[in-house]
């Protein structure tokens, strides 16, 4: 009798497995933003916030709604920059600004208090990464890095882009890159996981670097789902980065992360472990979160941590020195919106980092009018914040 039951159980199990396998074989992959959604949430109305096709006019940008700490002031610094994202300074004072779906790279020139915006490249493939060194602008698209030598002298007739490196995956999901020069003079960028949640190929879900001449590619960190913002600590020179966590696991988990690389080749958990202490329901099986580097800060669920920048200026009060600003573009995979703000992190030896709000107000109730995505310090120590939703850049200054 007992043996019968076992046999019929085995048969039943085999039949069910076969049916599941058949169903799986027939099931086409959903769009990547919906991938990993549990059947219980099939009717969810949550979907990524669409990027407006045009920037907001200056009069439609309620900059007075931005709230900053006492003594600080927010103003509209530039507008009309469709999908404005990452920023980098040229040697001669040009601000280069990237975009993502708009496909443009911009140059912003300050002319007697008025900002003039020029498109210096267009039709590019999600050109989110811009970095500048020794007179040359470097631009990262999905699968290649290019450069424009001497661009600051040719803003009105930009030179053709010269290829630096193109041995990179062509996957579009999480394919856009943040690009920056490290203290070692190498170009650092991300290769994101090509999915919401999946077992990524060995070539994906990492931070990588290459020499500015395109040689010497190597991986810096593994298990990084998608980091499109990082910076090096001004004193320790260690690499700190923000990571977007997977979607569809719940309203309040997993948290996005702020991490630090202390040794080349460390693994930060994706796809096995999220936020340092949640095993993935599918890929976490047989793993322990102890195998991976724990996050320095859980920055919050779905906040979409983008830009990371350490403050080195002298305009802000002394305690701001070496603080990190984290720009959070804001949530879509959560019924009550969260993020849409700039946070700041104070690292404290022997104690947990202090994590607090610096600038907010782009989210009013449940309505958004902007999405802060990257910061860039100005020469005078004030801080620029790019908003890719409004197509604008704000300047935060401080007066004693």
């Amino acid at each position: 009798m007992r043996r019968m039951t076992l046999t019929s159980l085995t048969v039943a199990f085999t039949v069910v497995s076969l049916l599941v396998a058949l169903a799986w074989a027939q099931q086409a992959a959903p769009p990547s933003w919906k991938q990993g959604q549990p059947p219980s949430m099939a009717d969810s109305t949550l979907a990524p916030i669409p990027q407006p096709p045009a920037p907001k006019a200056p009069g439609e940008i309620p900059v007075d709604k931005i709230r900053v700490p006492p003594g600080f002031k927010a103003e509209l610094w530039a507008s009309g920059i469709n999908n404005a994202r990452a920023m980098t300074w040229g040697d001669k004072g040009t601000l280069f600004v990237s975009s993502r779906v708009a496909g443009n790279v911009y140059a912003v020139v300050d002319k007697g208090g008025q900002r003039e915006v020029k498109v210096i490249a267009s039709g590019l493939n999600l050109p989110n990464g811009v970095a500048f060194k020794d007179g040359t602008l470097y631009i990262a698209e999905v699968s290649k890095i290019s450069k424009m030598p001497g661009i600051e002298d040719k803003l009105d007739s930009p030179p053709a882009m010269e290829l630096v490196y193109d041995t990179l995956p062509k996957d579009l999901p999480h394919g856009w890159k943040f690009l920056a020069f490290g203290p070692d003079g190498k170009l650092y960028f991300n290769i994101g996981a090509p999915c919401n949640i999946c077992m990524p190929p060995d070539t994906h879900a990492n931070l990588s670097r290459v020499n500015p001449d395109g040689t010497g590619f190597e991986y810096v960190a593994h298990g990084v789902r998608n980091s499109v913002g990082f910076d090096w600590h001004p004193v320790t020179k260690q690499l700190y980065f923000a990571t977007h966590a997977r979607d569809w696991l719940g309203e309040n988990e997993p948290s996005d992360k702020f991490d630090v690389v202390t040794r080349k080749g460390q693994h930060f958990g994706f796809p096995y472990c999220h936020q340092g202490d949640i095993l993935d329901p599918e890929f976490g099986k047989g793993h322990s979160c102890k195998e991976f580097v724990p996050p320095l800060i859980k920055t919050g669920p779905h906040v979409a941590g983008n830009g990371v920048e350490f403050y080195t200026g002298s305009m802000f009060p002394p305690e701001y020195k070496n603080r990190a600003f984290l720009a959070q573009r804001g949530s879509w995979n959560r019924s009550e919106k969260v993020g849409f703000r700039v946070m700041m992190v104070t690292l404290r030896p022997g104690a947990a980092p202090k994590y607090e709000i610096f600038a907010q107000g782009w989210l009013q109730g449940q309505e958004i009018w902007g999405r802060p995505v990257y910061t860039k310090q100005m020469k005078d120590g004030s801080l620029l914040i790019a908003d890719d939703y409004a197509g604008a850049i704000y300047r935060i200054s401080y007066q004693r």
Partner: protein
């Protein structure tokens, strides 16, 4: 109850997001659409096989496509030179004008077996998750229901061949598993849908 309230808040937020950045000018859009009428129809309902109807297309969709024609990411012998002369304001006005027009169904071959197979494939391949259950489109995602047969066939085949322009890669990925006869069936189904607003 709490989650219900949350959902309605999200819906309300989605509705406000649709509001264009600047109050687009429908009258100006109508005037600016005059050169487009020869191919796309005065009210955005095209008659020429292979030319898409624009009536009832979401504002963001039309605007983004014009941007892509202008910067060269999407190419077409007629549209590319035309879009070169458009300003952002022109695009916003045109997109608003076409979104306000009532879409009419296009003549389409309707093989019932292919339509039924296409409906099954549309479910299998999650078309509704972006294009909505009635394939009426939303935000940057185009309206498909009742669109021109030849145009749909050309675009879907182009996504499969990785030659059609894609805003974020979603359609190129979605088209990869499709066989040629499956594309035909899908297009039969989509073109057969009555274009009700």
């Amino acid at each position: 109850m709490r989650s219900l309230a949350g959902v309605s808040i999200v819906l309300a937020a989605l509705v406000t997001i649709v509001t264009p950045a600047r109050a687009a000018d429908l009258e100006a859009g109508k005037r600016k659409a005059e050169p487009c009428a020869a191919c796309h129809g005065a009210d955005g309902n095209a008659m020429i096989p292979g030319t898409p109807s624009l009536a009832g297309q979401p504002v963001y969709f039309t605007h983004w496509q014009l941007i892509k024609f202008r910067d060269g990411r999407r190419k077409d012998p007629q549209m590319s030179p035309f879009a070169k002369s458009l300003t952002d304001t022109d695009m916003a006005d045109l997109a608003a004008y076409y979104a306000a027009q009532r879409p009419l169904p296009r003549p389409a071959p309707t093989d019932p077996a292919k339509v039924a197979e296409g409906k099954r494939l549309a479910n299998l391949h999650h078309c509704a998750s972006c294009h909505r259950p009635d394939l009426s489109g939303q935000q940057q995602v185009p309206r498909l229901a009742g669109q021109d047969y030849d145009y749909l066939l050309r675009l879907l085949s182009g996504f499969k061949a990785k030659t059609a322009s894609d805003l974020d890669g979603t359609m190129t990925m979605a088209a990869q598993p499709l066989r040629e006869e499956e594309i035909v069936a899908l297009v039969h189904y989509i073109a057969s849908l009555g274009s009700q607003p």
